[in-house]
Every structure is written in C-alpha cells, then in structure tokens.
C-alpha cells in the first residue's frame, strides 16, 4: 500500500518537474511570438505606409525617424551604429582576450589563476550602467584631451568610448570561453611539441591555438553578439543620433539605444512608436540569433578530439 503511494508520488513528481522545465520553452515561444506579432502590426500600420510598402521602406530608406512627424523607417542607421560599436569592442576584446586566455591557460600557475579569476568574475558583475557612466564621464573626456593634441575634435557623445568600454567589459566572458577551448586541446599535442624543442610560446601559437581554432572563433562570435545586445553603455554614452557613418567620433544610435530612448517616454499601447521598438527588437533578435547559431555550429564542430 505505502509502496504504491510512494511510486505514484514519484511519478507525479517526475511529471511536475517536466512541466516546470517545459516553461522555458514556453518563454522562448512567448519571446518569438510577441516580437513577430508586434512587428507584423508595425509593418501593417498606416503611418508606415501599409504592408508591402513599409517593408520596402524598412530596407531601403536611409533614415530612422519613427518618432518624428516625418516618419522615415530605414533600419540601416541603427544597424550601422550597432555594428560600429560591436566592431570597436571586438578590436579591443579579440587581441586582449586571446593574450589573457593564452596566459591563463598555458602560463599561469594555479595560484595566479585562482587570484585573477574572481576579479575577472567581478569585472563581469559590475552593472552595465556603471560602465556607461565611466565611458561618458571618464573615457570620453580623456580621449577628447588626447585627440585634441593631434588636432582632432571628438564630440561628447560618440561611438568610440562606449565601444572601448564594452570591449573590456565583455573580455572576461570571451577570455574564459577561449580559455576553455584552449584547455580542451589534448595534452599530447602540447607534449609532442615540447618534445620537438618548442617553447611554450611557440606551442601556444603554432599548436594549441590552431587546434582550438573553431572554439575560439565561436567564443568571439558569442562575444560579438553580446556587444550587439549591450544596452546601457551605449544608451548613456553613444548619443541618440541614428546616422549612417563610419566615423567613430560622432554620436550614433544603436538598436538597443533606440529601444531605451523610446521606452523612456510614455508610450500609448499599439501606437506606431510603441510598435517600432518591437520591429527594432526583432531585427536585434534576428541578428544575434544568426551569430549565436554560427557560434553553436562551430563549437559542435570543435568537439572533434
């Protein structure tokens, strides 16, 4: 009798746990559904020109002004700003992350690693709005002073300083993933290289890194996608001026920055401005999804050992 009840309890718990675990799938569906539903509404809204026209305008116009009286809905200025920030941050994060990862995985003693790691964790835990403050009120004035010596003027809002700050901000994230893939390289390869008389430096760069190539690229793609989705640093320090430009010293706006700017105002539910942040968010979601998928694919390929 009691055994019977116990068994029933057990399977009831099993079903309960499965249902709770399935909630995460529901969340994913909810995200995709809400983004698509409101993006569809955005494209069929009369202020955007109705269904087929609005999509064409979305991809062909060169200005993004859904909140103005004269509504232009070309997504490219926002994409331009987003990618510029992400590229600048990768210029910092790729070399620095690789060096830090190689050092931690190939050189550092256990003691050094155990001291450094918690601080890197803390670097990752610092709220992003704090980094925004730092970019706006420390890095920007500093860069302005330095660049003025070369006769270059930089504006108070620009893409460069948030880009640099994001680059260092995502460093612990990318470096630890790169380190993991370096550690995944079998010890045999290293020892074979040492046996041939290679130094640690040669081994690291000519044997270990090439062997861990796809894992490293995958780590950087995830870092890139994180830089694309980063919000508060750019909302504080990059300005609110969506434009197509290649000059990192000018104010720009990213997709995330736009969403913050519009969300700060009081939005009537279902208005064109309200819907526009979902269209922008959907574009952001698709872009990050593409990078994440390539990263996951590369990572699955790197499991060859």
């Amino acid at each position: 009798m009691t055994i019977d009840i116990k068994k029933k309890m057990d399977s009831a718990v099993h079903v309960f746990l499965m249902i709770v675990a399935a909630v995460s799938i529901l969340i994913t569906f909810a995200i995709v559904w809400v983004l698509i539903a409101d993006t569809v509404k955005f494209f069929s809204h009369e202020e955007g020109g109705g269904f087929p026209l609005s999509i064409i305008r979305f991809f062909t116009e060169t200005e993004w002004t859904p909140t103005f009286l004269n509504k232009q809905i070309g997504i490219w200025p926002l994409v331009n700003g987003t990618f510029m920030i992400a590229l600048i941050s990768m210029l910092i994060s790729v070399p620095l992350g690789l060096i830090v990862a190689v050092y931690l995985s190939e050189y550092a003693s256990w003691k050094v690693r155990e001291t450094v790691k918690p601080w890197l964790d803390f670097l990752e835990a610092v709220p992003t709005v704090v980094y925004g403050y730092f970019a706006l009120l420390f890095i920007t004035p500093l860069l302005q002073k330095i660049l003025l010596n070369f006769g270059i003027e930089m504006q108070g809002m620009n893409a460069l300083s948030p880009g640099i700050v994001i680059g260092i901000m995502i460093l612990p994230f990318t470096a630890s993933m790169v380190e993991d893939s370096l550690k995944g390289v079998p010890q045999d390869l290293r020892e074979a290289s040492y046996a041939l008389g290679s130094s640690r430096l040669r081994t690291a760069f000519l044997v270990v890194i090439p062997a861990a190539k796809s894992g490293i690229i995958s780590a950087y793609l995830l870092g890139f996608s994180r830089a694309i989705g980063e919000t508060m640093v750019v909302a504080v320090a990059a300005g609110m001026y969506p434009q197509i430009t290649a000059n990192p010293l000018e104010p720009i706006q990213t997709i995330t920055g736009y969403i913050v700017q519009v969300a700060l105002g009081d939005l009537p539910y279902g208005s064109f401005e309200y819907l526009s942040i979902f269209a922008a968010g959907f574009a952001l979601f698709v872009i990050t999804l593409i990078f994440n998928s390539i990263a996951v694919y590369l990572k699955s390929k790197s499991m060859g050992y």
Partner: protein, 306 residues
C-alpha cells in the same frame, strides 16, 4: 641544406637564449595585459568613489526620495524598490530554475525532451537582456495587464536569471557521486526521495552560489526594466508587504540602476555626483555578492571531498 649553410654563424646557445627570452617576454606581456584589465576595473571603482564621495558620506542620500534639487535627492525609493524587485526575481528564478535543473540532470537523461529543453536554455542565455524587456512589455504589462509593477519587474528579472540558475543547479547536482544515490536506492528510497533527502542537501552550496551570482547580475540590469516602463521619478515607497501583499505587487517602482541612469543622463553636473554615489552603492553590492559566492564555493569545496 639550409641548416648547413647557416651553420657557420649559428650559435645554438644564442638561439636558445632568444627563444627563452621571447617566451619570458610573452609571459610578462600576459601579466601586463591582466594588470591593464585590473587597472581598468580599479579606475572604474576609484572614479565613482571620488566623484560621488560627497553623497556617499551623506546619510540623507540613503534616506531621501529623488528630488529636483540634486543636493536633496536620494536613493530611498530606489534601494527599497531594488529589494522588492530582487525578492520577486529570486522567487521566480528558484521556482522555475531549480526544478528545471533537477529534471535535466536526474530525470531527463539523454531523452529527446531533455535535449530540446537544454538547447532552449542555452539559447535563452544568449538572448540580449533588452529583448526580455520587450517580452515583458508586450506580454506581462499589456496582454496580461500586470502594468508597470513590481510583479512584472520580478517576473522579468527572474526569467532573465533562469539560465544561470539552471546551469549552476545542474553542475552542483552532477558533482554528487553516483554511490550516494545507489546507497539510497538500496535502502528502498524512490527516485524523488533520493533527490530530496540526499542529492539536494549536498548540492545546496553550489545552487546557492549560482543563485547569488545570478542575483548579482540581475541587480544591475537596467535595460529590461526601462523597457517595461519603470518610472525614474518615484517619491514614495511601494505599499509595504505587511499591509497588502497584492497592493505591493501592483505598486510602481524604481530601482538603483534606473535611478542612476536617470541622474547620469541629466546635463547638470550635480546630478552626476548623485549618479556616481548610486553607482558606487551598486558596485559595493556586486562586490559583496561575488565575495559571498566565492566564500561559499570555497567552503563547499573543502567540506565535501568525494
């Protein structure tokens, strides 16, 4: 052939020295890069401390509401709001995350459902946080009608923390040796009894560590809360929980990072001082939580040696 040609001027000792030198230089360079990153972190902390020192020392800063006058403005509503919101987020993260972790590790195995859920969790972890804000705005705020409330904010941050909690739950459960489980089964315990009486108590340290790390990330999250329309100027406290639980859940709120963002985006420099002070409070919170997590991990590692 090449070797023979070189042989005339080739000094093996010199070559070894050169290789050793470049090896050593890279080691120093690596240390230097880490030092650079640490300097950055240190500069952030110091910058906020120096900029905000006047307000950090000021007791009234913690006890007054935001105000038009920078010298009178404080973070009372912000830190109270942060506590309420984080309590909600922690609740949802535990309720959703721990069972999911247990299911994936103990029941799911290599089954199809488990694999789908697993892939899904890692996808969720890579979604930008502001997209969670859009989810909350579109579904919780308007379609469910929860409004711009503590309930919505807690749910949103709880969902945001979910992947961290699931991963840490799984990792700490995985560390429990199979022999513990088999001993319990041998005594006639069901699977659930084994988990509840043996596996969970042993892995609680790891789960707790993950939870604290998750909270420390979520406490600084600003973007999703701005998206759901957290107000930046709140000169009152939420309805206290002891008066009415549901009124509390429905209260509008502000949190520390949003208050800081509001101050930093103003042109007046006096408000920047407040922003720096609020940022320093956030930094201290993040530091404390990471330190606690570090300590628990250290303790657990020493306590259970399988």
């Amino acid at each position: 052939m090449q070797i023979e040609e070189k042989k005339v001027g080739f000094d093996i000792n010199y070559y070894i020295k050169k290789v050793k030198f470049s090896d050593k230089s890279f080691e120093l360079f690596g240390l230097f890069c880490i030092f650079l990153v640490m300097t950055f972190l240190f500069a952030v902390c110091l910058d906020l401390l120096l900029d905000g020192l006047v307000r950090i020392k000021d007791k009234n800063f913690y006890l007054s509401f935001p105000s038009r006058f920078p010298q009178e403005a404080g973070i009372l509503s912000a830190w109270v709001g942060t506590i309420y919101v984080m309590a909600g987020a922690t609740f949802w993260a535990i309720v959703l995350g721990v069972p999911t972790g247990i299911y994936l590790e103990e029941y799911g195995g290599k089954g199809k459902i488990a694999r789908i859920i697993e892939a899904n969790i890692s996808n969720l972890a890579a979604v930008p946080s502001i997209v969670y804000g859009l989810l909350a705005l579109g579904i919780f705020v308007y379609r469910f009608g929860f409004g711009e409330s503590i309930l919505t904010a807690g749910l949103t941050l709880g969902i945001l923390m979910l992947p961290v909690i699931v991963v840490s739950t799984r990792e700490s459960i995985r560390r429990i040796p199979i022999s513990i489980r088999e001993a319990a089964y041998a005594l006639g315990a069901t699977r659930w009894e084994t988990i509840f009486h043996h596996v969970l108590p042993y892995s609680i340290g790891g789960i707790l560590t993950g939870l604290i790390i998750g909270i420390s990330r979520a406490i600084g999250e600003t973007a999703p809360l701005i998206t759901i329309g957290a107000l930046t100027f709140i000169a009152f406290l939420p309805t206290p929980i002891w008066e009415s639980f549901f009124e509390m859940l429905k209260s509008p709120f502000t949190v520390l990072p949003i208050q800081m963002y509001n101050w930093v985006s103003r042109p007046q420099e006096e408000f920047h001082t407040n922003a720096a002070a609020a940022g320093f409070v956030l930094l201290v919170l993040a530091f404390l939580m990471n330190a606690i997590a570090f300590y628990i991990r250290f303790r657990v590692r020493r306590k259970y040696q399988w």
